[in-house]
């Protein structure tokens, strides 16, 4: 029962991503990426990571993409511009990407995985994913957690300093 939904979501993600990298209108590209994030959140729910799905919608599309949209609107991007949108070397770019794809396929195709383990809780039940994630995040991974908070602080200060108006003395 999960497999048709998986195909649906992954088709959605791939199609919207392909559209996104080919749009010349930047706002359309950003909105298509938001759409692909929704499909991705659905995929996360299928894999038993429902907390992460909500985090993806809340932070990635509700936070980061809004930041992108704000910046696009405030920066006066020439959306319907007639200048060249694509690199002159795009043929070599596609070639490199295809070679990379071939390498990945030749490595992954040889992988043999044992039988999939089942989650120790029933999917979607309470207590389930959220409680287990909390108990592991604050005991085993508390150090990376604190480091990420310092990283966020550094990024915030850096972004403010970089984007401030220079006051000419």
């Amino acid at each position: 029962m999960e497999l048709p939904f998986f195909y649906l979501f992954s088709a959605g993600i791939v199609i919207t991503s392909l559209f996104m990298i080919t749009r010349s209108n930047v706002i359309h590209a950003a909105l298509l990426l938001v759409l692909s994030f929704f499909f991705l959140a659905g995929l996360f729910v299928l894999a038993g990571a429902e907390f992460l799905a909500a985090v993806q919608v809340l932070i990635y599309s509700g936070g980061i993409m809004v930041l992108y949209l704000f910046s696009i609107m405030l920066m006066n991007v020439q959306v319907a511009v007639r200048i060249r949108q694509w690199h002159r070397q795009r043929f070599f770019a596609i070639l490199i990407v295809l070679i990379l794809g071939f390498e990945i396929w030749s490595v992954l195709g040889k992988g043999v995985f044992p039988a999939m383990k089942v989650w120790p809780w029933k999917l979607g039940a309470t207590p389930g994913n959220v409680e287990a994630l909390g108990s592991v995040l604050y005991t085993k991974f508390v150090f990376p957690f604190e480091v990420v908070s310092i990283l966020l602080l550094a990024a915030m200060i850096g972004a403010i300093v970089l984007a401030k108006k220079r006051i000419d003395s």
Binding site: E2, S17, Q56, L67, S71, M116
Partner: protein, 100 residues
Amino acid sequence: MIPISHFLTLGAVLFLIGAAGVLMRRNAIIILLSIELMLNAVNVTLIGFSRQWADLSGQVFAIFVIAVAACEAAVGLAILISLNRDKTIMNVDEVNLLKW
């Protein structure tokens, strides 16, 4: 039950699409969006592995990846805004002076 190979294939395809976007486009914001797509491809792979071994470390790491993506988006956009201050530069090959 979704086999792990499906997740890995999807992650690989998304990563390649993102890489193609980064290498082929001139517009700085589309390049940043393609980088976000690559980070999401990594997330898909992590979640796939987390499901395979029923280990929550994959999901925890995916949360950290999202946090780092937020930082990188903020700093990248701040750089773009400061580049755009005097005149609108939108294509990355126009940023070719060593000292601004």
